[in-house]
């Protein structure tokens, strides 16, 4: 027992002491922030006013009313907010095609005038009636620009149509009210105040976190086995402790490092999110619509942190004993990099299954995936992040994991025991089976 402890301590201290541990601990959240936040932040970045030419072929003031509607749209709220559109209304007066062509010629020129138009909106009487409007512009690839245009245009055109039908003003006003749905997560009969984006974002983080840590720490165990094998130190160690003791010491030691690292992230996450809880919000939404709805940060509850830690540990034991077996089979890191592909793919599948869960976190598929040991460590925490599972289901998942671990540790330890002392050709599946069976 003392010997296992010596191995655990060595693995732990030697790893925590490295620069890469320190860098990893601080860099991962930063990296995650960058990858999780930056794309949506970049998409929501305000791009300044858009030049819009309104080619007006309508009669009866429709064009004027629309131009005024565009003029009133501002970037952000508040008194100092700038106008979103620089609107120029041009009366078509029967020369619509010629005017359109001359405006289009100026759009998207590299050396054009500074406040050149970004697009031209062609508005005719028929267009108002049929709802078929033409927009020609340099910014049509921007979902956001297009959806913003639509959000202004759609109710206005509806209003114009109602007006033409002679509808009373109160009906017109009632029809102009826009939809604004607030989706909020309900958990165990209580509203949580967490928006759907926030809850998706949290599940996304947990998914990525579990995937990364299982992979990184599993591969660390594999590399450690190969290092001991290729430096031949393993023989001295095996002469004074059993291969199983050495393997367990290594797995527990590396696992402890992982636990510390995730613990640091978990506590930081808990602290940071509870700081923001009181009203402050960060805009980190995945939404691409024009409202740029700011999103409250998801709450990282202590029970979620515990679930993540427990399932990391279980998943790590399951996978690391397989990674250790791969390491023992191979002679070089390069060889192992190829040999570990099947295991790495299993972890990858677990991560991808999140996209099947997100729509139906308590459906049959989610339940089944929760009880397949290779997927459990990723699926259960992700489901828990979306909506806490009943304790009975969590415990059942733990039991399934323990069974799975018993299986992989049995197999891994047997392959490891023979493999660490075998050099030369990589074993075939037949040889591996023989290794596993010899007592």
């Amino acid at each position: 027992m003392n010997k296992i402890f010596a191995v655990i301590r060595r693995e732990f201290i030697e790893r925590v002491r490295t620069k890469s541990f320190l860098i990893g601990t601080f860099l991962f959240p930063v990296m995650f922030g960058v990858f999780g936040y930056l794309p949506s932040a970049l998409m929501q970045r305000e791009t300044g006013a858009r030049g819009l030419v309104l080619l007006d072929g309508t009669t009866g003031g429709t064009g004027q009313r629309l131009a005024a509607a565009f003029d009133s749209v501002t970037i952000g709220d508040g008194p100092g907010a700038l106008a979103r559109y620089r609107v120029v209304r041009v009366e078509a007066g029967g020369r619509l095609d010629a005017l359109r062509d001359s405006v289009v010629r100026q759009i998207g020129l590299r050396d054009g005038p500074v406040d050149a138009a970004d697009g031209i909106l062609i508005l005719t009487g028929e267009a108002v009636d049929s709802g078929k409007v033409t927009y020609l512009g340099s910014n049509v690839t921007s979902f956001r620009d297009m959806s913003r245009l639509e959000r202004v245009l759609e109710p206005r055109l509806r209003e114009e149509r109602l007006r033409r039908q002679g509808a009373p003003a109160n009906v017109v006003d009632a029809a102009a009210i826009q939809l604004d749905m607030q989706a909020t997560k309900v958990t165990e009969g209580k509203t949580t105040g967490v928006s759907s984006e926030a809850s998706f974002f949290l599940a996304y983080i947990i998914n990525f976190l579990m995937y990364m840590t299982l992979l990184l720490y599993g591969i660390q165990v594999m590399s450690a086995v190969i290092e001991e094998k290729s430096t031949r130190i393993v023989e001295v160690l095996i002469s004074s402790m059993t291969p199983f003791q050495l393997l367990m010491g290594k797995v527990i030691g590396v696992g402890a490092v992982g636990l510390v690292q995730i613990g640091i992230w978990g506590v930081t996450g808990f602290y940071v999110t509870s700081l923001f809880k009181g009203g402050a919000s960060a805009s980190a939404g995945m939404a691409v619509d024009g409202t740029a709805r700011s999103m409250t940060l998801p709450a990282v509850n202590p029970d979620l942190v515990i679930v993540v830690l427990v399932f990391f540990l279980l998943g790590f034991f399951l996978y690391s004993s397989l990674y250790a077996a791969i390491g023992a089979m191979c002679n070089t890191q390069q060889e192992a990099q190829q040999a570990n592909t099947p295991i790495t793919m299993l972890i990858g599948l677990g991560m991808l299954s999140m996209f099947a869960l997100i729509n139906e976190p308590s459906g049959t598929m989610a339940r089944v995936l929760s009880f397949i040991p290779f997927f459990t460590p990723i699926v259960v925490p992700v489901r828990y992040a979306i909506a806490p599972l009943p304790l009975s289901e969590v415990l059942l998942a733990v039991a399934v994991m323990l069974l799975g671990i018993a299986g992989t540790v049995w197999l891994g330890a047997r392959i490891y025991r023979v493999g660490v002392l075998s050099y030369g050709k990589k074993p075939t599946f037949k040889e591996l089976w023989r290794w596993a069976r010899t007592s």
């Binding site: 003392n2 010997k3 010596a6 191995v7 060595r10 201290i13 030697e14 290092e227 001991e228 290729s230 430096t231 031949r232 130190i233 393993v234 023989e235 001295v236 160690l237 095996i238 002469s239 004074s240 402790m241 059993t242 002392l421």
Partner: protein, 317 residues
């Protein structure tokens, strides 16, 4: 009457294609230096691994210190230096050595104390905080050696301990080994270099192709080998001398090295007869001496020249 420290009783180890060790029995008495000799690939390392219970014999059994415990159970009392040596390259020297001590069952505090003392003794004190990869090959070998010795084992098992060492370090190690034996503890080492064994060992076992061919105290082995050897050195007419050494009516076997040779006389032939024949043929002699058979010649006789000196043979051709 001292009990045997190591008893191997008819141990056998088979691998997929071949038998590495076959039906090998040996006893290592307490105290002194015991040599396990054999050409490369004879099964020395496999035997040692079975003694250490790194691998289990397919047949037969190993008894250590007269008790039931395996080499692993008794690792506190055994120091082991494997043939293929290694250390964690990124670990600090002192931590490394202390860890090896802990693996042997020492307490952390004790392991660190002993590791420090050994590093001082081997002149590596100022390197304790450096990484192993900063050390030269020779220094690393010393650290490994200290790793096998630091817990004061009763039995020291060394697999090819002097291979790859420069003469100075080799001498340092030999002195340490002799010291250990002098303090009443037991050393078992394997080698394919007969000079080392001849100078150091009290008892030897020679294995070839997985089987034991010689076993006993070195003096006894030499006596049993019987006939005295004639050590010869030639100054002229060497070709003639070689022809005479081929004469099976005079010489049973000759270990011909060119300018020197060791010859074993045919039955009933006195040394004088060979001397007369050489002088009559006009061979110039700078040495003609009746000597005990060298371990090397016994080794070659028992193992066969092909297995014994592959390198020398290549040079001669």
């Amino acid at each position: 009457m001292t009990t045997s420290v190591v008893v191997a009783d008819r141990i056998t180890k088979r691998y997929a294609g071949h038998t590495a060790v076959h039906d090998l029995s040996m006893e290592v008495p307490s105290g002194g230096i015991f040599g396990l000799l054999g050409p490369n690939g004879a099964g020395k390392t496999t035997t040692i691994r079975m003694l250490m219970s790194i691998i289990t014999p397919d047949d037969g059994r190993v008894t250590l210190f007269g008790g039931a415990g395996s080499g692993r159970d008794l690792s506190t009392r055994i120091g082991y230096l494997p043939e293929e040596r290694g250390l964690y390259p990124k670990m600090r020297v002192l931590d490394q050595l202390a860890f090896l001590g802990e693996a042997k069952g020492l307490s952390r505090w004790d392991a660190r104390k002993r590791a420090k003392a050994w590093l001082e003794r081997l002149g590596l004190g100022e390197w304790s905080a450096r990484k192993v990869s900063d050390l030269s090959k020779g220094m690393q070998q010393k650290v490994q050696f200290a790793g096998a010795l630091q817990h004061d084992p009763d039995l020291l098992i060394l697999d090819e301990p002097f291979s790859g060492l420069d003469p100075v370090n080799s001498q340092v190690m030999k002195e340490v080994v002799v010291d250990v034996a002098r303090s009443g503890r037991t050393v078992l080492f394997s080698t394919h270099i007969m000079e080392h064994a001849e100078k150091m060992c009290e008892r030897i076992v020679i294995v070839a192709r997985g089987e034991k061919v010689v076993d006993g105290p070195l003096a006894q082995v030499k006596r049993d080998f019987g006939k005295s050897q004639i050590a010869l050195a030639f100054t002229s007419n060497i070709a003639t001398a070689h022809r005479l050494l081929q004469d099976r009516s005079l010489v049973l076997r000759a270990d011909d090295l060119g300018a020197t040779a060791e010859a074993e006389l045919a039955a009933g032939i006195e040394p004088e007869a060979l001397l007369r024949a050489l002088v009559m043929a006009g061979v110039g002699l700078s040495r003609f001496e009746v000597v005990d058979p060298s371990l090397e010649s016994i080794f070659i006789a028992k193992v066969g020249p092909e297995a014994a000196r592959p390198v020398a043979r290549e040079v001669a051709v």
